[in-house]
């Protein structure tokens, strides 16, 4: 295939060709960044919580009067819920669950010295102290949530304290927190310093995500401690087969109101756990949808532009195509001519687009929390645009190849 004739022909359509190159370049730059943003958001929304998400349902109950005996209330409610057919287990928590946005976090230090250091600095920054999220709950919470205990033991009835006034003596922490607090040591039996309290680590769970996400590095820092909720508002967590969830929520509300009508069981605040998770990531899923729509829209418009221009050029050159065919060019030659022309234009656009993509990424990095665009996105973007270009030009190119040689003898 000779490239020179193509170039000299393009020179006659300089302005149009430049515009097409520009369009491909901007599309390439935007699409590369859009795909990068999509991948990041998808990574964010697909984070694992460590709990049996599909089997959990949540019911929120709020007593009207503060002076009723919360422990008796919770015990009755738990018994009522546990008795429902289909419920595998049930536990009560004050409010915190992974991704429900109501974070309860404390400064925790691996030893007394670092605690004093952090207090002197008024900040945990630069010390070995961290701020994990605390999960309280009644007996059986670890089993109900479906956490995977990888070392140590679950809580025993003696471990429990009531309400947040006193701190429990033991706790179960996540593997991520264990690694951060006690690097290279066996976390079991270690002490956590929390305010005036010293808490012994008795178990380690594989993963338990925090109620609120900060950065991936600290999102797994959680502590489960044997502290029973003691307020008039309480959240019940039910574990069941996924298909039973809707029924159990409906029946659970009725059962709770039958046990005591002196409370609010808000239908808006009872849902399968998966709904809660979806709500947490709602902005991200919207953004993913918009980014995909924008990326596809851009590719579509660019394909339209390429096809439209190629169409014009084919019409314009019908006579010269006829002449070429008359002097011996095959259909394949004509087809390849237009394909090569398109390859060159898109190629020029891609080269410019790469530079623009990095410029755009730099802009995003300074104004938004976006990391650097990895290099491997560029060949993928280039390949996608080349394919798009070839696809768009195929129709007009085939039409050009179908021009019969006899056209050369006609005057336009």
């Amino acid at each position: 295939m000779q490239i020179l004739p193509i170039l000299s022909s393009l020179r006659r359509h300089r302005l149009t060709a430049v515009l097409l190159v520009l369009q491909v370049a901007f599309t390439c730059a935007i699409v590369c960044n859009v795909v990068f943003l999509i991948v990041q958001r998808v990574q964010r929304v697909s984070v694992t919580t460590g709990i049996a998400e599909n089997e959990l349902s949540v019911i929120h109950s709020s007593g009207y009067t503060a002076h009723e005996n919360a422990q008796a209330r919770h015990a009755t409610d738990l018994a009522v819920l546990r008795a429902m057919p289909g419920v595998r287990s049930v536990a009560a928590v004050s409010w915190s669950l992974p991704l429900d946005q109501s974070d309860d976090s404390y400064g925790v230090c691996p030893d007394d010295a670092s605690k004093k250091q952090a207090m002197a600095r008024r900040s945990a920054d630069g010390t070995s102290c961290v701020q994990p999220s605390m999960y309280d709950g009644t007996e059986g919470l670890i089993g109900t949530l479906g956490l995977r205990l990888v070392a140590g033991r679950d809580f025993t009835p003696d471990d429990y304290v009531i309400g947040s006034v006193h701190k429990p003596a033991v706790a179960v922490i996540t593997r991520a927190l264990a690694r951060r607090l006690y690097p290279g040591k066996d976390p079991l039996g270690q002490s956590m310093y929390l305010g005036d309290a010293v808490i012994r680590v008795v178990g380690v769970v594989d993963t338990l995500l925090r109620p609120n996400l900060r950065t991936p590095a600290v999102d797994g820092y959680s502590v489960v401690w044997p502290q029973k909720p003691d307020g008039r508002t309480v959240t019940y967590v039910l574990r069941s087969a996924p298909r039973d969830r809707a029924r159990l929520l409906r029946e659970g509300r009725q059962a709770l109101l039958a046990a005591s009508s002196n409370r609010l069981v808000n239908p808006d605040r009872m849902e399968p756990y998966t709904d809660m998770r979806a709500r947490f990531f709602q902005r991200d899923t919207t953004m993913i949808g918009l980014l995909i729509a924008a990326g596809l829209g851009l590719m579509f418009v660019t394909a339209l532009g390429i096809a439209g221009l190629a169409n014009f050029w084919v019409q314009q050159r019908t006579r010269s195509i006829g002449i070429r065919r008359a002097i011996g060019a095959t259909r394949g030659d004509i087809l390849r001519y237009f394909q090569t022309e398109n390859f060159l234009i898109v190629g020029a656009g891609i080269v410019l687009g790469m530079a623009l993509a990095f410029g755009l990424n730099a802009g995003l990095m300074t104004h938004y929390e976006v990391p650097r665009l990895p290099l491997f996105y560029l060949p993928i973007g280039a390949l996608a645009l080349w394919m798009l270009g070839q696809l768009a030009v195929l129709g007009p190119a085939l039409r050009a190849a179908a021009v019969p040689p006899v056209v050369a003898t006609r005057s336009v």
């Binding site: 902005r283 924008a294 221009l309």
Partner: protein, 438 residues
């Protein structure tokens, strides 16, 4: 002549119906996406109280210790006031109206049987709140300064909450139960929902929250009612830090009405003097000049309420529009140049360059008008979908008449601009010469 150009343009567009449709579609998509996002941004940066905002100010003090750092958590405790400071400003009475306030959510019990209990969001505030913001009353009125001092259990309900609790709105004099306490209803306000809720703490959802009750701040402090905003303490002594009356915990918002520039200047000076006095007393450690007074719109800009995602979406939409425009420029250029022969004949027959330019300009403007109309429809569809997402700013995503006109102007302007280069290039075709070449 214009009618003739219109006719020519329509003929030319009809000759390539698919291409015309594609160009209209491209410009419609670009304009629609951009206008959706521009509208969202526009309503999010709207003036929540247009008739009052120029006279409303919020004072800010800096009571934090010198060595305090909030560790990049994004919440600055000096955005809010402490109880002693708010009470001093209130007692000083330097503005036309002033009020201190904080948000709270209470469990509201229905009075009429058959109605549901619910969590109601509202505001703990002081007597002047209603005059300060011009809250419209449907029945009754607000409470008095004497009620504030006495900690009287009175409440002003929104029309909506009154109906949810009593089944009707004229409930002045009746008793409402909120949280653990009974309150006498002294007033009912009609729907009043400035968006964003500029006077609320920045941790809330300021575009979707509406206050449904108002009760005296003194009651909230006496009874230690739950506060829904940010309460930041920095005291070493946990007891003073975490109490609502504590001098080392900020949780209150404060707004003041100042009518003249002289009053504003006086108030600024007063804040600095107050800070200097507190520093002399040993309570404040930082320079008194840290005290500032924000106007309403300045305060909203300072808080930066628009999420980054919305900015990103706007840039994405504008980038999309730009690519669409380049696309249309290229297509129009190819289209016009293909008609070089025709143009050449017209030129040879005496048409001036200007005539050709206007003729082609009319054709591109026609595409612009069609694209703009489509864009408007797409933007309405876009806004409709924004309203039906459970987002914070969903309910305010509406297009006002000025935005409507703006969309149209943008569409026509964009496509006329896009047609300019091709038309200019095409009208330079030499008369008759082109005929020979083909």
């Amino acid at each position: 002549m214009f009618a003739y150009y219109m006719d020519l343009a329509l003929r030319s567009l009809k000759r390539n119906p698919v291409l015309t449709a594609l160009m209209v579609l491209a410009i419609g998509l670009g304009i629609g996406a951009s206008m959706t996002m521009i509208t969202v941004l526009h309503v999010m940066t709207n003036d929540p109280l247009p008739e009052r905002s120029t006279h409303l100010y919020t004072p800010h003090l800096d009571p934090l210790p010198l060595d305090y750092s909030h560790g990049g958590s994004g919440i600055d405790p000096s955005d809010n006031l402490t109880w002693p400071d708010a009470m001093s400003l209130l007692r000083a009475h330097r503005g036309v109206h002033q009020a201190a306030m904080a948000g709270g959510t209470l469990l509201a019990l229905p009075v009429q049987s058959g109605l549901q209990a619910l969590y109601a969001a509202g505001r703990y505030t002081t007597a002047d709140f209603f005059a300060l913001f011009g809250v419209p009353f449907e029945y009754g009125a607000g409470w008095s300064a004497a009620d504030d001092t006495a900690g009287a259990r009175v409440v002003v309900l929104s029309d909506e909450l009154a109906r949810k609790l009593f089944g009707r709105a004229d409930v002045v004099g009746r008793t409402a139960r909120l949280g653990e306490l009974d309150y006498r209803v002294v007033g009912v306000v009609t729907r009043w929902d400035p968006a964003p809720q500029f006077y609320a703490d920045s941790t809330g959802s300021q575009f979707s929250d509406i206050d449904t009750f108002f009760l005296p701040l003194s009651v909230a402090v006496n009874e230690d009612l739950p506060v829904s905003g940010n309460e930041s303490g920095w005291g070493d002594d946990e007891k003073t830090g975490s109490s609502k009356r504590g001098a080392a915990m900020s949780w209150l918002q404060f707004w003041v009405q100042l009518d003249t520039p002289a009053q504003v200047a006086d108030y600024r000076q007063y804040l600095i003097n107050y800070s200097a006095q507190q520093k002399a007393l040993g309570r404040f450690q930082r320079p008194p000049t840290n005290a500032t007074l924000f106007g309403l719109m300045d305060w909203l800009a300072h808080q930066n309420l628009v999420p980054n995602d919305v900015h990103l979406q706007l840039w994405l939409a504008l980038g999309f529009l730009f690519v669409c425009m380049v696309n249309i420029v290229a297509l129009l250029l190819a289209k016009f140049l293909r008609r070089s022969g025709e143009i050449s004949v017209r030129r040879a027959l005496g048409a001036r360059r200007r005539d050709i330019f206007v003729q082609l300009g009319v054709e591109s403007a026609l595409i612009g008008v069609a694209g703009g109309t489509l864009g408007l429809a797409i933007a309405q569809l876009g806004l409709w979908s924004v309203r039906h997402r459970p987002g914070d700013y969903a309910r305010i995503a509406q297009m006002d008449p000025s935005m409507l006109a703006g969309t149209f102007v943008l569409a026509v302007l964009a496509s006329v601009l896009a047609g300019l280069l091709p038309a200019w290039r095409a009208c330079r075709v030499a008369p008759a010469l082109q005929l020979k070449a083909s």
